[in-house]
């Protein structure tokens, strides 16, 4: 990979955090060009940059016989994180909205305040993920090992975009 794994992953997640932070500042009467598009663009760049490296990191150093297992595990991590994160952040947003309403805020401001909490905590999650990948991943990946995994990774990519999700192989024994 031209830029390795660590740098694009950490940078992409940092941009994701920045985009979420912008959303956490969005006003009640925001305009698309000023308050929606910049955050959307940062999230697009950040997530686009981070997607390939995180999958490569999840598969790197894994023996070939366990690559199916490793791809299944990272898939599960994504699904589990998504389900938990959505449930927790949406609940926190709803709780914040209820609290603001009880304090006498008008309904739009209360809704917006609730969403701000969800975006802000999401930004913290992404920033922590960026920090973890910068600190814990090695700068150099074993390019020989990666080259040997070309077909595996292409198969992984196909599975992860959901084209043949059910073809994840059982671990070869």
């Amino acid at each position: 990979m031209r830029f390795g794994i660590r740098v694009p992953l950490a940078a992409g997640l940092a941009l994701t955090a920045a985009g979420l932070a912008l959303f956490a500042l969005s006003p009640v009467d925001g305009s698309f060009a000023l308050h929606v598009l910049p955050g959307m663009a940062l999230l697009g760049i950040g997530c686009g940059m981070a997607m390939n490296p995180v999958l490569l990191a999840a598969m790197s150093d894994v023996p070939q016989s366990e690559s199916g297992l490793a791809s299944g595990v990272v898939n599960t991590a994504f699904m589990m994180g998504g389900a938990l994160g959505l449930a927790v952040l949406a609940s926190l947003a709803a709780a914040r909205t209820d609290r603001l309403l009880a304090l006498g805020a008008d309904s739009l401001a209360a809704l917006n305040g609730g969403y701000h909490i969800a975006f802000a905590i999401g930004a913290v999650f992404a920033a922590v993920a960026s920090l973890l990948s910068a600190v814990l991943l090695r700068a150099e990946t074993n390019s020989l090992a990666l080259a040997g995994k070309r077909e595996q990774n292409e198969a992984l990519d196909r599975r992860l975009v959901g084209l043949d999700f059910h073809s994840i192989p059982r671990r070869t024994r």
């Binding site: 959303f23 009640v28 959307m40 390939n52 999840a58 991590a77 959505l86 999401g122 070309r150």
Partner: protein, 109 residues
Amino acid sequence: MRRERQRGRLTSAQTLTLLGAAAGLLALFLALETWVRDPLMPLRLFRLRSVATANVVGILWSAAMFAWFFVSALYLQLVLRYSAMQVGLAFLPANLIMAAFSLASQPKW
């Protein structure tokens, strides 16, 4: 909508019981995978630092991402009063940029 929320609150008995049960089942799963001779999911995989890091990063990132998709659509619809079509179009730039950067960061073998 607001009245139904009482039952599904984060601190309601139902939520806490289910969360506790889920944590217990996860702990049981990990214990079983440690004890059995030929585990379905060998935990030694997580001794690889890159694998463990990638999975933790994946959980945090997808937690932020899925919540962002959901909550920002609500923000656009309920606060900014966008129509469903406008919300879809508002997400289009992000998705096009994501696709472009994802392709640009394809590994070169």
